[in-house]
């Protein structure tokens, strides 16, 4: 026996809690086709062959929001065997509004009045038999959170699925009922009897989606329209409003008879909390404090710690088991400091080949005794008043800093080299000596492959392609989980809606929701969890807009290359990084305003009518589950894209034609790679931006794997002469460098973020639109920066300048043209 149960109910009615309680861990999370709405299905616990489909939380079956359309199409198209309608017992009146619509579908309905424990505690009483009679379906009392009445609910649902025929009991006023009968007879006879009334009602409401589906012929449509107009004239309102009014009228009456409130008035705890949290004066400071905490926990402390471990430990060199020994090692490493660099500098200034050979740690004859002797001799060779400049390269940004040193520095360095605590051989302290050192996966894999004697290309594919790709996917997960945990808590306790309430005024100007703040804040740490955090935004349009614009904010991985440009071309001016943040913010605002007016985002404006749910303490289980679901869906849905792209980029950068033969390349042979050929092919595109070289183009492409790769690639491509920064300064002017920076700041994000966009958009079309828009916008801004910048240096390029002016004019027009929103105009006209 196969039974399909559809779980329907308002948002915040405890639907997710009930779904989890019913299905346990037998869940499949996905998306409804074509929309960004999440779809969940599960198998009922302890029952064979019973599927539960969790419909999106909705207030009504109107055809306006994607959630409602999805739910409606499922109910009318797939026709589940029974609907389990969960209603919030503490908020019956509005919850039953959906119930009256569900009972009209001709599908058996069971109403579960949730939070019955809270209702009872407050001393209120619900007359269940009377409620059942007036709704025309079975009604049970449950508490999904406390697990009260769940077994009984399941029994009732299964019984209803077998035998019930739910018929709506509620009747509309006489004129409406007459019209419904007439419409049913004229236009809905093609449907099974149980569904006729529903279709007639939708025709009466002039529901465009149903009209489009039924396509009644002209004569029928006219007759129906006549019926509607007659009623509208009699009752002086439009047909849809008449239906809603009468529905609520029926429900109000029902509540009066079925719900006995013990004491009216008085402030509940939730009211008291709300008084403080969204207070006119305290609201913003509290909001700032909460946001700081979210950022601090997910991006600065716990989250970053976890992600560093995943990236540098698990998918890096390795880590200390339980972190024991890490701090001791770091201390030793710090004490050791630049000793290697100092010794090398003196070695090349005063030493000789013999000494260099003895100090070569890579050589086979390297041994502690010879090293000690060599260093002693080096000290003898260096005069007391010697002064040597040594260089230290920053691993992240490749910035080279020069330090002056005297002989005492060398003596200290030699001392450190020979005598650092905990080390097996002379030289820098090694982490293995400070605790239980667990090597990272790449190290283990490399050792294993070496032992197996696999060919070089296979090593490369596995290490630089697949393991690096998997690392790129999983490296984000720990941090994401921390963030999702916080988000799930904020969401289920009710504060997230208050954020939207507090910030709505600012964000709606840019076509965003107040809830867009969190994705953007988080996006300044990492765009991937930022994009995933957009899930909490209720309107699909705002959600899409947020997904597209979140990655404009400089994320942590963009900082190294911003510092690199600042260091190489702008004398480390802090203004460069600051300007990057302002440009990111401006890009969000400008894009928001421009996109809001385009046809893709126009259409019927969804009014911002948002429920502010009562504050509730969420259960640990639900918060954890929500966290894991989001994290897992990222791994599954985004993982494939990230992995594939990483492999493609690896292949194109490690293979190429050298001297007429196609072969695998070493790391520093990037110039012969397929990628370099592609770079040369597309470099002309970037010429108007001032950096039409294949090196810059290749660096931008490798930035797609991870933005910090730009630095590494630039290091290889510009590092031939020794000093990367000097070569960069020669290759770029200040203006072209800044244009390069801005382009890479705003253009398509890394593959991980693109994967996240794909996951959240749930549509290839929208994903491509997002990437296309980001790249196009980045190109336009970089073009303007370069061409207008040239104006100041006096090297005007007339064609380029004209193009830049045209782009500027285009953007200004898109910004300031009147909004082309049909619905809005209509609303304004009727309001005035």
């Amino acid at each position: 026996m196969n039974i399909r149960i559809a779980l329907a109910g308002n948002p915040n009615s405890g639907k997710t809690t009930l779904f989890n309680a019913l299905t346990g861990s037998n869940q499949f999370v996905g998306n409804w086709p074509g929309v960004t709405v999440e779809k969940k299905e599960g198998k009922l616990r302890r029952r064979e062959g019973v599927t539960v489909t969790d419909l999106p939380g909705i207030y009504s079956l109107s055809p306006y929001t994607p959630e409602e359309v999805v739910a409606r199409n499922y109910l009318t198209g797939e026709r589940p065997d029974v609907i389990l309608n969960i209603v919030d017992g503490t908020n019956l009146e509005r919850n039953l509004y959906l119930t009256t619509q569900l009972t009209e579908l001709g599908i058996p309905v069971v109403v579960a009045v949730n939070m019955i424990d809270v209702v009872r505690k407050s001393g209120d009483r619900i007359d269940i038999p009377e409620l059942s009679r007036r709704l025309g379906c079975r009604v049970v009392e449950i508490s999904a959170m406390k697990g009260i009445g769940l077994d009984e609910a399941v029994e009732e649902v299964l019984r209803a699925a077998e035998s019930d025929k739910t018929q709506p009991v509620h009747r509309f006023s006489e004129p409406v009922e007459q019209a419904l009968s007439a419409i049913e007879a004229r236009a809905a006879t093609g449907f099974p009897e149980a569904q006729r009334r529903w279709y007639a009602l939708k025709l009466f409401e002039r529901d465009e989606k149903i009209l489009g589906k039924l396509q009644p012929d002209a004569a029928v449509a006219e007759a129906v329209e006549k019926e509607i107009q007659a009623v509208e004239q009699k009752l002086d309102d439009d047909s849809a409003s008449i239906v809603i009014n009468e529905r609520y009228g029926y429900i109000s009456d029902m509540i009066r008879h079925c719900y006995r409130k013990k004491n009216a008035g008085g402030l509940s705890i939730s009211d008291k909390i709300d008084r403080v949290v969204t207070n006119r004066w305290a609201g913003l400071p509290i909001f700032a404090a909460v946001m700081f905490l979210v950022y601090y926990l997910s991006m600065v402390t716990v989250g970053t710690f976890a992600t560093d471990w995943a990236n540098d430990g698990l998918f890096g060199d390795g880590w200390h088991l339980l972190g024991i020994g890490s701090s001791a090692y770091e201390e030793a490493a710090e004490q050791y400091g630049d000793s290697d660099a100092i010794i090398q500098a003196y070695l090349s200034a005063y030493g000789n080949e013999e000494l260099a050979a003895a100090l070569d740690a890579e050589s086979e004859s390297y041994n502690a005794e010879a090293v000690g002797a060599a260093l002693g001799e080096l000290l003898n060779l260096v005069p007391a008043d010697a002064s040597v400049i040594y260089e230290v390269t920053d691993e992240e940004t490749l910035a080279v800093t020069e330090y002056a040193s005297g002989k005492t520095d060398l003596e200290a360095a030699v001392e450190a080299y020979l005598n650092t605590e905990y080390k097996a051989a002379p030289g820098a302290p090694t982490p293995e000596e400070y605790g239980v050192w667990v090597p990272g996966i790449p190290v283990l894999a490399a050792n294993g492959l070496e032992a197996a004697g696999t060919p070089e290309w296979l090593d490369g594919l596995l290490l630089d392609g697949i393991i690096a790709g998997v690392g790129a996917v999983l490296g984000f997960v720990p941090q994401m989980l921390v963030l999702f945990l916080l988000l799930a808590f904020l969401e289920s306790c009710g504060y997230l809606s208050r954020i939207a309430f507090v910030l709505d005024r600012v964000f709606r100007r840019f076509g965003l929701s107040g809830k867009s703040f969190i994705p953007m804040l988080v996006g300044s740490g990492c765009g991937v969890p930022g994009i995933m955090a957009s899930r909490t935004i209720e309107s699909e349009r705002d959600r899409r807009m947020t997904i597209i614009t979140t990655t404009f904010i400089p994320c942590g991985a963009k900082i190294p290359f911003i510092s690199m440009i600042a260091g190489a071309l702008f004398g480390n001016s802090p203004l460069v990084a600051t300007s990057a943040y302002f440009i990111g913010l401006a890009a969000i605002i400008i894009s928001g305003i421009m996109l809001k007016k385009t046809r893709m985002f126009a259409g019927d404006p969804a009014p911002f009518v948002m429920e502010l749910p009562a504050y509730r303490l969420p259960t640990v289980g639900n918060v954890l589950r929500s966290m894991w679901e989001r994290g897992w869906s990222f791994i599954k849905k985004a993982g494939t894209i990230i992995l594939l792209s990483t492999i493609v980029i690896w292949f194109t950068s490690y293979f190429g034609v050298v001297d007429g033969s196609f072969r695998m390349l070493a790391e520093d042979e990037l110039e012969y790679s397929i990628l370099a050929a592609i770079g040369s092919g597309i470099a002309w595109i970037f010429a108007p931006l001032g950096w039409g070289t294949w090196q810059a183009a290749v660096a931008s492409v490798t930035g797609l794997v991870a933005k910090e790769n730009i630095v590494g690639t630039m290091g290889i491509l510009y590092g031939a002469g020794g000093n990367v920064y000097a070569s960069l300064a020669a290759a770029f002017t200040g203006i072209s460098g800044f244009s390069f920076l801005v382009f890479n700041l705003l253009c398509a994000p890394c593959f991980a973020a693109i994967g996240a966009i794909r996951r959240e958009m749930n549509s290839a079309k929208w994903t491509w639109f997002a990437i296309g828009y980001q790249c196009g916008f980045a190109y336009a801004v970089a073009l303007m920066i370069y061409q207008f910048g040239l104006l100041f240096t006096g090297e005007v390029n007339v064609i380029g300048l004209v193009a830049a002016l045209a782009v500027l004019a285009g953007i200004l027009w898109l910004l300031f043209r009147p909004a082309g929103r049909r619905g809005l105009k209509k609303a304004v006209r009727t309001a005035s």
């Binding site: 609520y248 969204t278 004066w281 309001a831």
Partner: protein
């Protein structure tokens, strides 16, 4: 014409009529702002918009522009 927008904070009003049409009106009505419904205006957001109201026993956030469409007494 008195609207929900001009109603004072803390006041209790009754909906006379909803102006506007289409999705906006439908959404407001779906949430329970229908003819005859009683609304208490609770407070204004820290930045001056939207407003928080109580209707049919629960809290709702409504933008001032949308509140203007609700005629009250």
């Amino acid at each position: 014409m008195k609207t929900l927008r001009t109603a004072e904070i803390g006041s209790r009003v009754k909906v006379v009529r909803l102006h506007g049409e289409g999705a906006v009106k439908r959404r407001m009505m779906d949430m329970g702002i229908t003819k005859g419904a009683e609304i208490t205006v609770r407070k204004v957001a820290p930045l001056g918009d939207p407003v928080e109201i109580t209707v049919r026993g629960y809290e709702l956030s409504v933008r001032k522009a949308d509140a203007e469409m609700v005629e009250v007494e």
